[in-house]
Amino acid sequence: MPGERTAEFEVRLSRALAPIDPPAELEARVEDTLGSLVDMAADELEAWELRAMRDPRNWLRPAAAVVVGSAAALGLVVVRTRRRRHKRRAAAVNALDLAGKTLKDAAKEARRVIEDTTPGR
């Protein structure tokens, strides 16, 4: 019967085109390369965050990053940011400029705290 013959042929075809296991060294190689890419992407994200700080529309994001951190980390950010308020006030042109500088400083501190408290960094 042609149907049976085709079914039998499909079995032979499945055996001929059996899946091939990748060599172990390939897994290690691809994982290494992807690991480097992930690190590069993290650096890129960080650089983007720094660039984005120039745009007031993006000031909310680092502030949100602070919220994500632990209460202790948040406390640390506030303490460190407050510590430099005299310096910022002296450098600020007006109230809006001061607010911007304060946010920038807080975001910078938040980033430092996150880095300091992230294991393996």
Binding site: T6, L13, S14, L17, P19, I20, L37, W48, A52
Partner: protein, 187 residues
């Protein structure tokens, strides 16, 4: 006119995305490697192709995930491998070599005579696969080496489900004829 702020994932989103990509990689490394191997016919180039596929997939993963609407990403991954393999042939002006030496069936227990017959049968089939037009060969590799269903193959090849069903049917029929001819009148 003010431009919208550039969209970038947050660190948390990025970490989640990376974890999801790692799962995709672990789940489909074998699929991509098998596909690459049957396309290019040797381990060395199959390794390169697999690596390039995952690198490219990583770059576009966020968008693919957004646009997949919850559907499996294997067809997308195989489509990347498919495009890279096409470039590979164009760049190097070569046709796939016939894979046979490392075919998985050799690990099965056989008597010597059965093994020789089996190898000959496999060789005829694999040689026949290489004689098929590209789209038919692709469809067979996806179905038999990767176990993809019609819908997945259709997505990977950018065809309709119906067209894919016809493509597979014709590929099997053509291959059967090629192999029958190679076996000769006694086969």
């Amino acid at each position: 006119m003010a431009t919208a702020p550039e969209q970038q994932p947050t660190r948390e989103e990025k970490a989640k995305l990376d974890a999801e990509f790692a799962s995709l990689y672990r789940a489909h490394l074998r699929d991509v490697y098998s596909y690459s191997y049957y396309r290019v016919g040797n381990h060395h180039d199959a390794e390169d192709l697999t690596e390039q596929t995952f690198l490219q997939a990583y770059r576009h993963f966020e968008r693919a995930q957004r646009e997949s609407d919850g559907r499996p990403l294997r067809p997308w991954l195989i489509r990347i491998a498919h495009n890279l393999a096409a470039n590979y042939y164009r760049d190097r002006s070569r046709r796939p070599q016939t894979p046979i030496d490392d075919a998985g069936v050799l690990s099965s227990p056989h008597t010597t005579e059965a093994l020789v017959e089996d190898r000959q049968d496999l060789k005829r089939i694999l040689d026949g696969v290489q004689e098929l037009p590209d789209d038919r060969r692709e469809a067979l590799i996806m179905r038999f080496a990767l176990g993809m269903d019609n819908r997945e193959i259709a997505r990977a090849l950018g065809r309709t489900d119906g067209a894919t069903k016809v493509l597979l049917h014709r590929a099997i029929r053509q291959l059967e004829e090629i192999v029958k001819k190679a076996e000769g009148p006694t086969g």
